[in-house]
Structure formats: C-alpha cells, structure tokens
Amino acid sequence: MFYHRWYNLSLNVKEISIKTNLTYKFKKRGVTMFKKAFPGGIDILDYKELSEDENIVELLPQGEIVFPMLQYKDEKTVPTVKKGDKVLVGQIIAEGIDPPLTNLISSVSGEVKAIEDRLIEDGNTIESVIIENDKAYTTIDGYGVTSNYKNLSKQEIRSKIKEAGIPSYMKLTPKKDEDVEYIIINGTECESYLNNDYRLMVEETEKLIEGTKIVLKLFDKAKAIIAINDKRTNLISKLEGLLANEEPIEVKPLKGKYPFGATRPLVYQITGHKLMSEMDPIEKGCIISGPETVVSIYNGVSLGIPLIEKVITISGEGIKEPANFKVKIGTSFSELVEAAGGLAEEANKIIYGGPMMGHASHSVDVPVSQESTGMTGLQEEIFSEGPCIRCGKCRQVCPVNLVPSKLKQYADVKDQDSFMKYHGIECCNCGSCAFICPSKISLVQSIQYMKKERGAYSE
C-alpha cells in the first residue's frame, strides 16, 4: 500500500545527495521548480539504475542478419536485392517507394540467403531480407569518406543524410527553412528501464554536439535545445561545460514526470506551444530528433558512415545481467539476451521497448531494426480487471486533459459519435491512465481500437 509519489524523495545512492539535487534544480528553475510542467502525468519508479552505469559493449553478430521491410510511419519498402546477391557493408538493400524515401542499408557483407516473412517486434510477420554474414565486413566504395560540414551546402548535407539511410530526412526538409525556430534533441527517455540514449550521450557527447551543429547549419533561424531529465546531473554539467561558448545550443533539464518525453508535453514544456494530435511539430516551428539520430547524422555527414549500428538496452528484473550493447542493425535479439546473461526464471513477460508503451512478445527471435530501443524482461504482477469505480484518477493523470473512463465506455459499445465528442482522437497513448487505474482496466487498448476505427494515425 505504499504511495509511489514519494519515490522522487527516496535515496538513489548512486547519484549525488538529495540536497544538492534540489539546490541544483532550484538554482536552475527558481520558483517554477514547484510549478506543474504539463497537465497530468504520473511519478513512476523508472528502474534506470539497473543499467544506467553499464558502458556500451560492442557485440558482433553471430547468426544471420534480418532486415524487415518496415520503415518509419508505415511507408512501403521494397528490396533492391534478390536471393543469391552478394552485398557489402553500406550497400542499399531496400528502398522506400512512397515518400519519405528512406533506404535500408546493409550492416554486414555477405550473401542474401532468402527473402521471406519474419517476426518483428509488434508481433506481425513481414517480408524481410535475410543475409548470411561472412564476418569480413567488407565496405562498399565511397564508404567512410570524411568531409567537413562547414564546407558543404545545405543541399549536400541533406543528400548525405539521405544516403546514410537516416529516416529523419523528410523531417529535416520542411517547406521553408526559415519556419524552424527550435531543434529539440529529445534526450529525455521517459520510458522506464531504457538507458540507450543516456549512455550514448554520456559516451559520445562530442559527436552529439557536432551533429547538432550540422543540423543547425540547415536552419538559419533555429536554436537547438537538448532536453534532458533533470536527475542526470553529471551529464547536464558535462554538456554545459562543453557548450559554454556555443550559441545557440542550450541544455534544458526537465522534471522527470512521465510522459515528459512525449511529443506534445515536450513541445509544451520547451516552447509553450500546445499541439493537437493531428498537428506536426513543424507547424509550430519545432523539429524533434533523438540523440541517436543526431549522432548518426554526424557519422553520416562528417565520417561518411551510414546508419548501420544501434545502441540497445537489455534490462529488467527478468534479465540476469542488464547491459547496454552496440550492435549491427539486423542482429537477432536472442544474441543480445544471451550476452546479458539470459532471461531469469521468474520472467514472465518480454517487452520490446519500455513497460509503458512497448510491445509484448512471445519470442526473442526478433531482429534489431532502426527503431528498436531495447528489450525489457519483466516479472509482471497480474491483477484481475474490476469494474470502473469512477474515481477520476485517469482524468487527473491524462496529459491531454481527456476522461479515459468515459472514452473506454464509448469504445466498448462502438459509439463513435460520443467518442469523438469527448475528443478521444487526441489520445497520445502514453498509458498513464491505465497505470493509475485502481481497477486495472485496460483503458489504452479500447481507446486505441476506437482510434484505429476512425482511421487516426497511432503513434
């Protein structure tokens, strides 16, 4: 019966003491430290300490490499190779045929073993290119050609980003460059257990800053803001030290209340603009990028290395030795889990992503894709679903000011009109309502179902 709100005052012995933490926050934010950052939100234990101090370990793949034909925002991707073709590191093996036209790039050299359906993170099976790794890692011509971004034009930078297979190419090409006011580097990582962005920022801070400068070159009027959880005091001081003379990049520590890293609360906290669900952040002059994207932009533009590696966190109480790995895209998660000690006896759930918004799956034989962040092995406490007692807690924690209990009521009877009248389409899928519900009702599932019926894009 303990009240989890008190976590934020509990001792996290690996960090500096509570007193300096509070003083730092107060110095930075003054009285607004006590102000609500955004409506709703929940204080959760984020268990990041399980893997936040583990250095990134490079893992080379042992088995076959699988590339699912899946891209950002469901664009259609087709393979450009066929069975039996020999591929090299850096070679394009699939391309998007609808905009945003991103290419999939091979991370190993070898032979295309097959093109068949394979399981991916969210439980679907999708056509995939399967490559047999010859462990030689021979690179293609033109791989690794360095250049100085200061000597490149905007067009050249953009084409280098596209060639590197980075999915943000479309995001970084708005209609008018002058419209962009803020480049927000989303280093908040509000999901529990995951530390991949954090470790990347700690270990490759210089690359992060250089990558930000490259992006800033594309937009003359923009300011870059690195948003970060304010409990990461060491990283914040390090970044501020390195950025002492760099205008216009700024570090902004944010109060760590879930879901402070979601698009709409994030834009609101940094710029004060309020976005609706169908609006793209660019409409208010913001571009949001993750630290991984920015580092790969640096790699792609300055070092000529395409996006072929990813940092993955394997964590959770169900994993014997939680760790962070850097792996080639296409490696199977089974190898990563084995390197992390394997799944513990009590683990009864495998989640790709974090526990609040991740996909549960039955198998670890899933390849690492460009969007993977990590895997969590959980020992889930199973509650039985009770009736809605109309306590209103879901309404209190919703970051978008909705009334989830009512929305579920209408979703269950497929009443689309009332669902729309209660603005159900605005739901951002954060899961706060289902987390806090005392009757453990599956609110997110019903609301998601209704949103899909209406044809809304689900984040």
């Binding site: 009240y3 609040m356 909705l402 289902a434 987390f435």
Partner: protein, 335 residues
C-alpha cells in the same frame, strides 16, 4: 535455436501498473472513518459499537448473498460494503432498535447498489438513500434522539455502557433543534463532539482528522467539500433570517451531519461528476440546496435529501462540463 522454452504472457501496453488497487482505496476510506466511529462509541456508549457492527455485517452479508445467488464474482473483499455499512451507521441515532441498521444496510446494498449494477454503478449514495428510506418509512423512531440521563455517581462500567454524553449532558436536544428554539450554538462543544446527534456526525474534529488523511492520500480532492461548505455558508449568511451572526453560520456548518456529508458522502466516486468543472458545479448546487432545506425546511434533516437529489443530476452535469483537450483551450500568451 530458441533460448527460451516456456510460454510468455502477451498483453497490451502498459505492462506495469501502480500497486494501488480499489481495495486499497476502500481500506483507506474505512481507516479515515474510524476516528469518528471511535468518538461516537466514546460519546454514546457500547450500543453505538453494536449498531456499527450490525450495519456493516448486514451490508457485507447482503452483497455476498446477492453475488452468490446471481452467480457473479464475489467481491465483498473489496471493502466497499464495509464503508457503506459504516457510513449508514454513522447517520443513525444511538437508541434505535437493532433491526433498523440491519434493514437499512440490506436496502442500501441490495436496492441502491446491486440492483443497478453493482460497484460503481449506483446512481445515489447508498448509505444516504437508505437513511432517507428509513426516515420516510419509520419517522418516529428515526428522529428519537432521546438519551437516558444517568446520575453522577455511576461507575466506570456505566460510563462505558452509556457513553459520556449520557452522563454529562444537560438536555438531549440536538444543536440544530435547540437553535430552532432560539438558543445559541455552543461551537466548541460542537467541534469536539460533546453533543447529541447521530453516532458519526457529532465530532467535527474526528471527521476532520479522517478528511485530512484522505486528502493527503489523494483519495478525495478538496474541490467538492470546499465549494459545498463555502456555498452553504454564503447561503446561510445571506438568507438565514434575523439572528444571522458568525456563531449562527458556524453552528450550521458544524452541526447536522454536514461535515460527514461534505467529506465522506458528497465525494463518493460513483455519484459525483468526474470532471473538474463538474465537481465545482456539483458542490455549488449541493450548497444551495442544503441551504434551502435548512432555512426553509420543516425538519433539521437538510443534508441527506440534498445529496441524493443532486446525485441524480450528476450525469447531466458531466455531459455539460466535458473538459477541453490539450490544445483546444486558449494557449497562454495568446499564441
């Protein structure tokens, strides 16, 4: 080669939930009600304890029998019947016959709660609806606040048995009845509870302790009690008649079960609106209606009727006060 050989649970996000369940909420409400009950036993003697136990047992038993008979999942372990039983007992005078709480408990659970769908679906506060039912059906018994006066020479056992009030009181009229006769309110006594009344409503202090516990635990929000009490005080101050004074207003606030109702019954989850603006509207209407009943009504029982009437308005209030989602309200700085 798969490295796992057992079955994993696959369900939809989120995969972690807070360990606080509705059982915990009800347990906390029951804990918050205990100080008032303990004071009632101290004030009125062991019979008060008996009434509380009979009421709780009747409620739990009715729920259990109903769920068994209709072959549904049994949930009396979620303490909501216990809370209803306690609340009902707190609204009864101490010298009523024992079949009244038993009957009232059965009515509250069976008719008001179970027959309309069970937990969360009652359209009126069950304890108050039962009280009104008993008031209408057995009026002479229910307004009998008579307490047998005992002499000063009685020993400890008698004190335990009959309660402090029986030994120390001068008259057995409730404060509101006395005020109608023109007397001033004895505010300090009303605050600590050495007055006559129903078992749970006498001590504003004990109720406040429980209410602060609930507010601290974030089980109830201050919105409904605050708007209720504020509107009610304003109404009494304006329309109270000739002898309006600070003593008068405070006395009306502290007496007649208003504290019990404002903190524990008006804030009942199933019967109050779930939107912010809705709760404010609800509190205001409640305050106005209770004020009207107190000033113009024949009996001193304004609160119970006011609450069950406004409970009926809750769905309408919710429909009218749908909150605007993020982004649709005017942003700050007019952007």
């Amino acid at each position: 080669m798969p490295i796992v050989s057992k079955l994993y649970r696959v369900s939809y996000a989120p995969h972690k939930t807070s360990p606080y369940t509705s059982k915990n909420i009800m347990q906390d409400v029951a804990i918050a009600l205990t100080p008032a009950g303990l004071f009632g036993i101290y004030n009125f003697g062991l019979r008060a304890l008996l009434i509380i136990l009979v009421s709780v047992t009747a409620c739990v038993a009715t729920e259990y029998i109903y769920l068994r008979a209709t072959k549904k999942a049994v949930t009396p372990s979620d303490y909501s019947a216990v809370v209803t039983g306690m609340l009902l007992a707190y609204t009864l005078p101490v010298n009523i016959p024992l079949w009244i709480p038993a009957f009232g408990g059965g009515f509250a659970i069976l008719v008001v709660k179970m027959l309309y769908g069970g937990l969360g679906k009652n359209f009126m506060n069950p304890a108050l609806a039962a009280r009104c039912f008993l008031l209408i059906s057995f009026p002479t018994i229910m307004v009998d606040y008579g307490v047998e006066k005992l002499g000063n020479g009685e020993g400890l056992l008698s004190r335990l048995h009959s309660g402090t009030f029986a030994l120390d009181a001068v008259s057995s009229a409730t404060p509101l009845e006395a005020a109608r006769a023109g007397e001033r309110f004895e505010l300090m006594k009303m605050f600590t509870g050495h007055i006559n009344g129903t078992i749970g409503e006498v001590s504003a202090l004990a109720l406040l302790i429980g209410a602060i516990f609930l507010l601290g635990r974030k089980i109830i929000s201050i919105r409904i009690p605050l708007t209720y009490l504020a509107t009610f005080s304003a109404f009494i101050a304006i329309f109270g008649g000739d002898h309006v004074s600070l003593n008068f207003v405070l006395g009306h606030v502290l007496g007649g079960g208003l504290f019990l109702a404002a903190f524990f019954m008006a804030t009942d989850y199933a019967t109050s609106p779930d939107t912010v603006m809705g709760q404010v509207v609800y509190g205001v209407i409640l305050g106005l209606l209770t004020g009207v009943f107190r000033v113009l009504g024949a009996s001193t029982e304004g609160v119970a009727y006011a609450i069950i009437i406004v409970n009926l308005l809750t769905p309408l209030i919710e429909k009218v006060t749908v909150p605007k989602p993020f982004g649709k309200e005017k942003a700050r700085n007019g952007r």
